[in-house]
């Protein structure tokens, strides 16, 4: 029996229901369901995690454990825009830390943080397989190669 939807009446929970149903409420679909939840809600609030736990009939500890284990799941709200600096070795030896320093200075926050106005989140990543165009930075999901402190600052200008 499918569980009743969320009491808030928020439509996004209905979409999440459909995703869980499509995966037949199987336990191994947890990661995929969390991806969907993060896509819908922007981040994984405790309430959402509990909802998923109930839907898939999993202990909340299991859902929380998975949500905190994988680096791409976020339990805090993210900024409107994201900027992810690759810190893989190929990018690092080509100056990724200088890019990050320039970004942190411009945005006034450290990697892993979001600007107080909620506009921008700055993150670091391990190698994203774009080493051919190192150093690489991902702006809102789009990978840009051969970056310099100037090009990243230019890109972020409109986002702050």
């Amino acid at each position: 029996m499918a569980p009743a939807s969320h009491p808030s009446g928020d439509k996004r929970f209905k979409i999440l229901d459909v995703t869980m149903k499509r995966h037949l409420y199987q336990h191994d679909a947890l990661i995929e369901v969390l991806h969907k939840a993060q896509e819908l809600f922007g981040f994984l609030e405790l309430d959402v995690l509990l909802y998923v736990a109930r839907g898939l009939k999993l202990p909340p500890s299991r859902v929380y454990g998975v949500a905190t284990f994988y680096h791409l799941f976020s339990l805090k709200p993210q900024g409107e825009h994201t900027c992810v600096v690759c810190m893989g070795t190929a990018c690092f030896v080509k100056g990724a830390d200088r890019l990050l320093a320039a970004i942190e200075q411009q945005a006034g926050i450290k990697a892993g943080q979001t600007t107080p106005n909620g506009k921008l989140s700055v993150m670091t990543a391990r190698c994203i397989g774009a080493c051919g165009i190192a150093p690489a930075v991902v702006f809102d999901g789009v990978t840009a190669g051969q970056q310099t402190p100037e090009t990243v600052q230019q890109q972020l200008k409109g986002w702050l």
Partner: protein
């Protein structure tokens, strides 16, 4: 020797369309036809005879692994395809999936037939959205054309379903049992082996885990035969019965301080010098190489004097003169003479400290200690005894010393041991003078 003709990149280099139609026009799925005319055991035998070794890092003979499945198992048996491609500086799986997905899919179908799997899971790291979409498109086309589903190509009783499973950002999902745990929707905590996946893997059923490039090779082995495959590469040393040789083509990724970072396909056994000078356009800015990572950062370093080392399974290894961990993913990263090895090692240690899954105390704590010590040297606060401590920790963590569950810890300790063995004077000079590394002078410490 005749000029080498690319095999795995053949269609990609001529910008051929990734569609099923174009792939078939280029002779695609001919290998599957040939395989289906043979018995599964004969397909396995062809792969055993080809001496194909796994391209995912460990170099285990692919066909031999398939024979480890229990005989006459009632099923289900699973194929798990490892497309987590997490070793830093490695991007060949991405190219194969994104630009020639049917070549990979054909290998998956052939392998599934050989091992009698009716379900194949394709585990792709989340970051590879482009590759995931290309593979899904290829899978959809294959279903429509009867290459997947029931009674494939009219072969009674050969059914196969393929499912894509996306990761969520964790290096340890590349380790085969971590991958299986993740596939089951759990934290990717590697399992204690034995039992090996071939006996008890995904959902506690016999499972074969293979890398994308390995399976792409399977396609061509079935098409052109094991002898053709063995005509490429470094033959086994007849004087060494334990040498399994390094046969076939390999995708080498070249990155770091070279003029033209790229991915090239060459027969196994090319030297680092040839890769860097001929294919990577030489070291950038007219500089010299100081160190070369031969196959992903877990493998250690080659020094400039070791640049003529062949990059194959036999020439790199714990018992060779260079002492690298192995060929790994054959991802070559060049580090120029102006770069501080302390900085490079710091970057590597930070990676492993972050990616350790935390199950084994020696790995969880050891990677953290190594990071702390290297960070202190980088900041000019190193102590005389630090290098010995680093080496000691590096020696103590891993499956080789027998203190951890998986090989991540070996890969974390190896670059540390090698950096100190091969670049000791540089580390000592930082410790003695108390100077900060170059990068740290340029940017604030993170």
């Amino acid at each position: 020797m005749a000029e080498f003709e690319p095999v795995l990149l053949r269609r990609i280099l001529k910008n051929a369309s990734p569609s099923l139609e174009a792939y078939r026009a280029d002779g695609g799925y001919r290998a599957l036809d040939k395989a289906l005319a043979m018995s599964p055991a004969d397909v396995t035998k062809a792969v055993v005879d080809s001496k194909l070794r796994g391209r995912g890092g460990a170099g285990f003979p692919c066909g031999v692994k398939w024979t480890f499945l229990p005989k006459d198992h009632p099923g289900p048996i699973y194929l798990c395809v490892n497309a987590d491609e997490s070793e830093p500086c490695t991007f060949n799986n991405r190219i194969l999936m994104h630009q020639d997905p049917h070549q990979v899919l054909e290998g998956m179908i052939i392998a599934s037939y050989a091992i009698r799997a009716q379900v194949a899971y394709l585990y792709i790291r989340y970051e590879y959205g482009d590759a995931t979409r290309a593979m899904q498109q290829a899978i959809d086309e294959a279903y429509a054309a009867g290459l997947l589903g029931k009674n494939i190509l009219g072969k009674q009783g050969f059914d196969l379903d393929v499912y894509i499973h996306r990761g969520a950002g964790a290096y340890i999902c590349g380790e085969e049992t971590g991958l299986i745990e993740s596939l089951e929707g759990k934290r990717a905590w590697p399992r204690i082996k034995p039992p090996f996946p071939a006996v008890e893997g995904a959902f506690r059923k016999p499972t074969i885990v293979n890398n994308i490039e390995t399976l792409a090779c399977v396609t061509h082995i079935l098409d052109r035969g094991p002898e053709w495959f063995k005509s490429m590469g470094t033959p086994a040393d007849p004087a060494n019965p334990r040498d399994a040789g390094s046969y076939g083509p390999k995708l080498y990724c070249i990155s770091g301080h070279v003029n033209k970072p790229c991915c090239v396909e060459l027969p196994l056994g090319v030297t680092a010098r040839e890769l860097i000078d001929k294919h990577g356009g030489g070291v950038w800015k007219g500089r010299k190489a100081k160190a070369i990572v031969p196959g992903g950062i877990s493998m250690g370093f080659l020094t400039a004097d070791e640049i003529d080392t062949k990059l194959d399974f036999g020439s790199l290894g714990p018992f060779t003169k260079n002492g690298c961990l192995g060929l790994g993913t054959a991802a070559v990263t060049v580090i120029d003479e102006e770069t501080s090895m302390v900085d490079v090692l710091y970057n590597i240690c930070r990676f492993f400290e972050h990616e350790s899954c935390g199950q084994c105390t020696p790995c969880r704590e050891g990677t953290g200690w190594m990071l702390k010590i290297v960070d202190r040297i980088r900041k000019g606060l190193g102590r005389a005894e630090d290098l010995n401590i680093l080496e000691e920790v590096g020696h103590q963590i891993g499956i080789m010393p027998g203190t951890t569950i998986c090989g991540l810890a070996d890969g974390a300790g190896w670059p540390v041991k090698q950096a100190i063995r091969k670049f000791r004077a540089e580390f000592e000079s930082y410790i003695k003078s108390g100077k900060k590394t170059h990068t740290l002078q340029l940017v604030a410490a993170h």
